[in-house]
Symmetry: C2
Subunit: 583 residues, 2 copies
């Protein structure tokens, strides 16, 4: 076994050109640095250096899971359809679920998540409250047939996840594990040196109510966030930020005005020469009960359909035909003069605006000065808007900032959703049979790797945090054939390896420029250049990849100086090796 | 993080009863010991202790692969059909290949093996002979839709494998890596404490010519082997052992005899009161060329259809209808008086038998004394039989012994089968473009786990080799509530953990009998019983699970005595801890 990796032997096919299909830095750089290759759309192979990074991310996640007493298991990829019929998700899940039949025509899916499998695993075997709480986790390949796979590892169809599931006899116990997991997830982000925010989120297809996403802030992220200096952060899909509508005060009575060719809020605001926030936007929908409902939100905000569905169960927007059939006027709906029986639901923030600028339920006309309580009555006030930067923080009232994020992990309280539908019970202390309360907790392993690159790159390539770097130090002999340089570099690499670091030596017979470019692209945290000139004075050049700082240092002192920094490396890697440059 | 595992917290659902579908020891015991659970036919979940064993097997395999310079990668499960069309295996592979289409109706398969993916991975990127040889490996989940999944982890539909692939510019280089891999596979078996034989085998669907299987000897194995004290061993499907037909000397001329109601070799031998080895068995087939061929083998042997196909390309047995159309008489075929144009192929070992007892090509009649060269001529002599115990060793001539084996690993020389069909070339030293020579090398990870149990079990359960045990030592306090016993056991467990061992403490409030039974079933290599009576004298009882030997030992000396054995544990685990009992 060799302790020192050699670039002459490692399979690291670096590329000078960006791959044509790569839109974001992590995709571009992981391919160029010879770490991943596409096998099919949204399906990747991890090459040796990529696999090393992946293994380090896994190892961080594993140690944090073990640290809170979760036990590692390994569930199968193939999941029988019967279990998904029991939970009801076979029909609910949609085309993202990859399905197949075996040779006997029995249907299976490729696991995108394992609630069904684990619930079936413990039912009938996890019998007593004395065995609770129990947390089980696995690190495994998962599948989701994205309609448009893209962004490399960020949105693939086959990807690596850590998923954990917990079982409880009380809400307090579930909350405790949920808190432990959340804390562990925070530590995982920190150890990977990710700038992240835990944000309020929607629970989507997994189900359950309480949930939090851990978002790595990055412009390449697909999630839109709002966050506040007070610590509050939310996915705009789920956030509760308060809109700040402004009142149009020029009208003190209900006044109908002709608004020819005005069909949108932007056109209305321009026509009246007022801000969009002074107008009121209307959208129509209906729920399971069939009652036609018109939703009103401040003109500068969008209706959040998930929130609409919380007010009106089974909410769906009306089609143009349905609107016409219901007597509604697309482009000029308003609360005054709606057809009989139409329900009015309005955003809470509009309560502060007595008189509205809003449609007149007549093509080509709007009202200004429509007054709440006089000209119309609102049936239900609710949080309805898609929160956006500039809205008031619901915790402290300051304006929210906007950001984009990559969801690297998420924690859920599932409650009894799966244990009830699948009949998984235990004997409680009082002797009764009860359904487990469950939690589930996921970390995107391959996605975290991409998120790290999104936050750790510059024009020359990647700079890995020490904690997940494919190796800590790269020793670069400038003249491989030289009878002094090459042996000195080999001895130095061996010394550094003995000091407990992972070392790679670039022993290829290549030009210095090629080696420097590859070292920067691949992103070894520390580079040590061994050259003829320096050696005459017994010196080598060390370079911190992250900042580009360089320094000459006595070759005899390198290993010892590195050993001095070793304590830092056990942490997240922030600043590790930095102390070498701080004198 | 706790260094000591606790039975009170571990999820280990042991069972008193054998599972109904378990036919063999490893299936039965891995389920009963709470290590695996079936999720679907041939599809298993690994519970915490099973996952620990799996991880140790993986770690042994990984260290041996790294040790010979192979580099770990991770290829995808989803493989696009295009690549399998290129290699020609999409049509060849049959129903064992699990296939599916994605949401855009593009066909994929779930990888049973990764020759196509890896060949596509390196073509166009591994360009120069200077980069060769190169060995890449992965440890990953694989899929094969067995028609009858059974025997637990031995023949599953979803299973864990290590597969490696090597690339070469010469046969010498391929042979070198093939030898390195074979040696590593031997060490892997030894480290897992497996009694194994490297055997000649058939290369099956993978292709290529040179191949060797590593067989763990076990009655539960599906492979039939022959082996010899000289070291020769072979799968009966591929072995070259020589049959030993015996001559029927009573007839010295071609004599037709009536054999009413004789349709099989057994009936013929009984009718004539001679051993089956004195008769000659005939089977009819045809090849791609359409020529009807009759194969003759000694009556006590079966025709090996793989060997038949080496003589007659595209060999298939004739159906009853085809035999009738060709004028052949099922149940009484012989070389004398066959229809015009029928080819005669006979087993080499029959060359030593001048006169044959064989069918007369006439229903109800056989010949005795049919003489080679006079009454008939053989067109081709060839190795045709399925070798069996008692045949002569092809290396030394001694009689072969029979055994059953579990194929835990296999090495192949693929040659240019894939590089040629898929167009994977490199620039050779002389500047020419050449196809890679390739090797491929697989280890069944989950199957090895089952093979270990097949060789390491008794009526009470499993006894794991130390190298793969879920923990090394189990400390069993007999009285959990006792104010002396419990703290003493806890201190002892902590001491042993500090000495570098993995320790589990059975701190459950259960009867001693339950704890002993579980410890034997699960198979911790060493048990240490802490009881009230022994403690009075400062003693505990240690028990070697493998042999059942017990000994009282001073509680103060345990950790030190264990530390003394630690060197042994680094090996295969054979005899580790045994020295504690050898004084």
């Amino acid at each position: 076994m060799t302790d020192i990796m050699r670039m002459s032997e490692l399979y690291v096919p670096t590329l000078k050109e960006d791959p044509a299909d790569a839109e974001i830095a992590s995709h571009r750089l992981l391919v160029r640095a010879g770490m991943i290759r596409k096998a099919a759309s949204g399906v990747y192979t991890f090459l040796p250096l990529g696999k090393k990074v992946l293994a380090k991310v896994e190892s961080i996640v594993r140690s944090e899971m073990d640290g809170i007493g979760a036990q590692e298991i390994m569930m199968p990829v193939l999941q029988p359809a019967e279990l998904w019929h029991e939970s009801g998700r076979w029909d609910d899940y949609g085309p993202e679920l990859m399905r197949l039949v075996d040779r006997h025509d029995r249907p299976f899916c490729l696991g995108p998540t394992h609630e069904e499998i684990i619930t079936a695993l413990v039912r009938n075997e996890l019998r007593s409250y004395k065995q609770l709480p129990l947390s089980l986790y696995q690190i495994q390949v998962k599948f989701r047939d994205e309609i448009r796979p893209r962004f490399g590892l960020l949105r693939g169809r086959e990807f690596i996840m850590k998923d954990a599931y917990s079982f409880h006899d009380s809400q307090e116990s579930l909350q405790q594990t949920y808190d432990d997991m959340s804390a562990a997830y925070g530590r995982i982000c920190e150890r990977m040196d990710l700038d992240y925010r835990p944000v309020e989120a929607d629970s989507g297809q997994i189900g359950g109510s309480v949930t939090c996403e851990f978002m790595a802030l990055a412009d390449a992220g697909e999630a839109e966030l709002v966050h506040c200096s007070c610590g509050y952060a939310a996915n705009t899909e789920a956030g509760e930020g308060l809109a700040r509508p402004t009142e149009y005060t020029a009208a003190d009575a209900l006044t109908k005005i002709a608004t020819p060719d005005v069909h949108t809020i932007a056109e209305l605001a321009a026509f009246l020469d007022i801000p969009e926030s002074s107008t009121v936007k209307a959208l129509s929908g209906k729920g399971k009960d069939g009652v036609i409902t018109v939703f009103f939100v401040p003109g500068d905000h969008d209706l959040n359909e998930l929130k609409a569905a919380r007010v009106v169960e089974g909410f769906e927007l009306l089609t143009d035909e349905e609107m016409e059939a219901a007597g509604l006027h697309k482009g000029s709906m308003g609360p005054v003069g709606l057809p009989e029986g139409v329900r009015i639901v309005a955003a809470s923030s509009l309560q502060a605006i007595p008189r509205w600028v809003v449609g007149a339920n007549e093509d080509g006309y709007h009202y200004v000065g429509a007054k709440q309580g006089e000209d119309f009555e609102v049936d239900v006030w609710a949080d309805l808007v898609v929160v956006k930067p500039g809205d008031c923080c619901p915790k402290c009232g300051l304006p929210l900032e906007g950001a984009r994020g990559i969801e690297v992990s998420q924690v859920f309280q599932l409650g009894d959703k799966y244990s009830k539908s699948m009949g998984a019970t235990f004997s409680a202390e009082d002797g009764s049979e009860q359904n487990f309360l469950m939690g589930c907790y996921g970390v995107g392993i391959s996605r975290s790797m991409a998120a790290i690159v999104e936050q750790h790159n510059d024009e020359n390539g990647i700079f890995w945090p020490v904690s997940v770097a494919p190796a800590h130090v790269c020793v670069i002999p400038l003249n491989v054939g030289d009878e002094e340089v090459q042996p000195a570099a080999e001895r130095l690499a061996a010394d550094i390896a003995r000091a407990g670091f992972e070392v790679v030596i670039d022993d290829r017979d290549e030009r210095a420029g090629v080696k420097f470019a590859d070292a920067d692209l691949i992103g070894w945290p520390l580079q040590i250049v061994v050259g003829k000139r320096g050696l005459k004075e017994g010196k080598v050049e060390i370079k911190l990849r992250r900042t580009g700082e360089k320094r000459d240092i006595s070759i005899a002192a390198v290993a010892e100086a590195l050993a001095f920094t070793k304590r830092n490396i056990k942490g997240s890697g922030i600043g590790a090796f930095g102390s070498l440059f701080s004198e």
